[in-house]
Amino acid sequence: MIETYNISKSYGEVKALDQISLQVGKGELFGLIGPDGAGKTTLFRILVSLLLPDKGTAKMGGFDVVKDFRKVRDLIGYMPGRFSLYSDLSVEENLKFFATVFGTTIEENYDLIRDIYSQIEPFKKRLAGRLSGGMKQKLALSCALIHKPEILVLDEPTTGVDAVSRKEFWEMLKNLQTKRITIIVSTPYMDEAGLCDRVALIQKGKFMALDTPLGIVNSFKYRLLAINASNRYRLLQDLREWNNTDSAFGFGQDFHVTFKNDRFEKEELFRYLSEKGHTDIRIEEIDPGIEDVFMKLMGTPDKPQKADL
C-alpha cells in the first residue's frame, strides 16, 4: 500500500532524506522511530503529497504521490505532528468540516470512529482549542478517519502526551488495524516500537535498520550488562573509566553497559567497582531493547559534528 524508491530530499545544505526505500503491505502497522530532526516529518509530507521529493518515487495504494496526488489525497487520512484542527470551531464542527470536505457525512462513517469519537462526544460543543492533550489527539484521529481512508499517516501522534493516554492511543490503532486499515506512524518514544508489526529506525535522513521489532533486537550481537550500585553519580563515572567499557548509559534505575571486548568474567568488573568503593553492586546479563539497539547504531556523538553546525 505504501512504496517508496530511493527518496531523497534536501533543504539547502541539509540532507533531510537520503535514499529512503520502503514497502508497507495492506493492513500493516508500520512504525518510523527516531528523534526530532531525523527526517520523519519530511518523509510523511512527501507520502501525503504535500512536499515534492528531489529524487526517487513514492506510491500510495498504487498511485504516484506526484502525478496522481488527487487520488492519493482521497485515499489517505493524515494527522500532522502539530495540532492542526480549527481551535475556534467546536469538536463537532471540526468533524463535520472534515466530513464535508471529503464529500461524506459523520453518520455515513460513524461506525469507523465510534470507539474513538464516543469518548469525546460528551464534549462535542466545546471549542477544540480548549480540549486537553489526550482529547485533542482523539479528535484529530477521528477527523483523519471520517472519510474512511485506506491508509492512515500519523506524524508523532503521541508526542507530549502522558504515558496512560499513549497506551490508550495505541490500543485504538491496534483496533483500527483489525479493520484492514494500513497505518504508518512515527514516534520518538522507543518503547512504542514493540507495538508495531515492523519498524524503521531513522537518524539523520537514513534508515539505520528496518525489520520486525524482534528482528531488530536480535540483530544486537553484543554483550549487555545492567549495573546498579548505591551511588549512581559516581558509578557512572567509574563505569566509563573502566578500560573495557565501550558505552554506559542510564536506563531507569540501572546503567546499561557495552564493552570493547565481550570476553571477560563478570567478577572482574565487580572487583573493579568494589575497589572503587561501591556498595550494593548488582550486575546482571540482560537482553537488549529497541533503545539499546538504536543507541548502538547511532554511536555516541560527543560533540556536534562540523557538518551539523
Binding site: 528523534p35 530532526g37 489526550g134 502522558d162 496512560v164 542510564g250 534505575q253 543507541m295 555516541t300
Partner: protein
C-alpha cells in the same frame, strides 16, 4: 537533606468553578531531584506557574527559595532557574549574546559573566562555537546549553518542564548527566517528564491526578506501594485506577 527549598501547604488554584490545584501539600529538599509527574490536564502546569511566581494561588501557602510566591513573586523569579522545551534560548542570537542577555536580566556583573561564560563553554566544549547562532546548533546541544544558561545565575533551584521531549536517546541521557552534575554542585532540581524511565532518575516523585497529589515517594517506595516493577506500572495504576 533537611533544608526545604520549596514548601507548599494547602495550595489551591481555581479558575471559575474549575479547581486546577486542590489543596496541594509537599516539600522539596535542598539537593534533591524532585520529579513532578501527572497526566495531561492534571494541574502540573498551573502548579509550576505558581511556584515560579507567574501566577498567584487562590488560597494556601507556598515558599520557594525562601520567598513567598504570593507576596514576593519578583524575589522568587530572581532566585530560580527555568527551562522548558518550548521556551529556552533566542534562536537568532549567538551563544555569547544569549549569555549576555540572560546575565543582564539577572543582574550578573560583567566580570562574573566573563568568567562564568568561559567556564560554561569549556564544560560543554563549545568554545569554538561561541559566536554561532543558536538556530545553527543541533537540538540536543540547544537543550544542554539552555540548561546551563538556566542555572547561569546560580539559582538554588531550577525548574525543568519536559526538558527532553523529542531528543534522541543518547542526548536525552547526556542531558540527565548534566542534571546530576548540577545536583552534585548543590542545585535542587524540579522536573516534569513523560518518559517513565526518567522518573527513575529522580530522588522522589510526586504524581498528580485531577488537581491533587495522588502519590509521593521515592521511585522504589512507589513501586513497592503499588506492587509493580516499573514506574510505568505505578503511573498507570494511579492515573487510571479503574483499569
Amino acid at each position: 537533606m533537611s533544608t526545604k527549598v520549596i514548601e507548599v501547604q494547602n495550595l489551591v488554584k481555581r479558575f471559575g468553578n474549575f479547581v486546577a490545584n486542590d489543596h496541594l501539600n509537599f516539600d522539596v529538599y535542598e539537593g534533591e531531584i524532585f520529579g513532578f509527574l501527572g497526566a495531561n490536564g492534571a494541574g502540573k502546569t498551573t502548579a509550576i506557574r505558581i511556584l515560579c511566581g507567574l501566577s498567584s494561588p487562590t488560597s494556601g501557602h507556598a515558599m520557594v527559595a525562601g520567598f513567598n510566591v504570593k507576596n514576593q513573586p519578583e524575589r522568587v523569579k530572581k532566585n530560580i532557574g527555568y527551562m522548558s522545551q518550548k521556551f529556552s534560548l533566542y534562536e537568532d542570537l549567538t551563544i555569547s549574546e544569549n549569555i549576555r542577555f540572560y546575565s543582564g536580566i539577572y543582574g550578573i556583573s560583567r566580570a562574573d559573566r566573563i568568567e562564568r561564560e568561559r567556564q560554561l563553554l569549556r564544560n560543554l566544549e563549545l568554545e569554538a562555537e561561541r559566536d554561532k547562532l543558536i538556530s545553527s546548533l543541533p537540538l540536543g546541544w540547544k537543550q544542554k546549553l539552555a540548561f546551563s544558561i538556566a542555572i547561569f545565575h546560580k539559582p538554588r533551584i531550577v525548574f525543568l518542564d519536559e526538558p527532553t521531549g523529542g531528543v534522541d536517546p543518547v542526548t536525552r541521557r547526556k542531558f540527565w548527566e548534566l542534571i546530576y552534575e548540577a545536583v552534585h554542585n548543590g542545585i535542587t532540581v524540579f522536573v516534569t517528564t513523560h518518559y517513565m524511565d526518567e522518573a527513575e532518575y529522580c530522588d522522589r516523585v510526586s504524581i498528580m491526578t485531577e488537581g491533587k497529589i495522588a502519590a509521593l515517594d521515592t521511585p522504589a517506595g512507589l513501586k513497592q506501594q503499588f506492587d509493580t516493577d516499573t514506574m510505568d506500572g505505578v503511573f498507570l495504576k494511579i492515573a487510571r485506577p479503574d483499569k
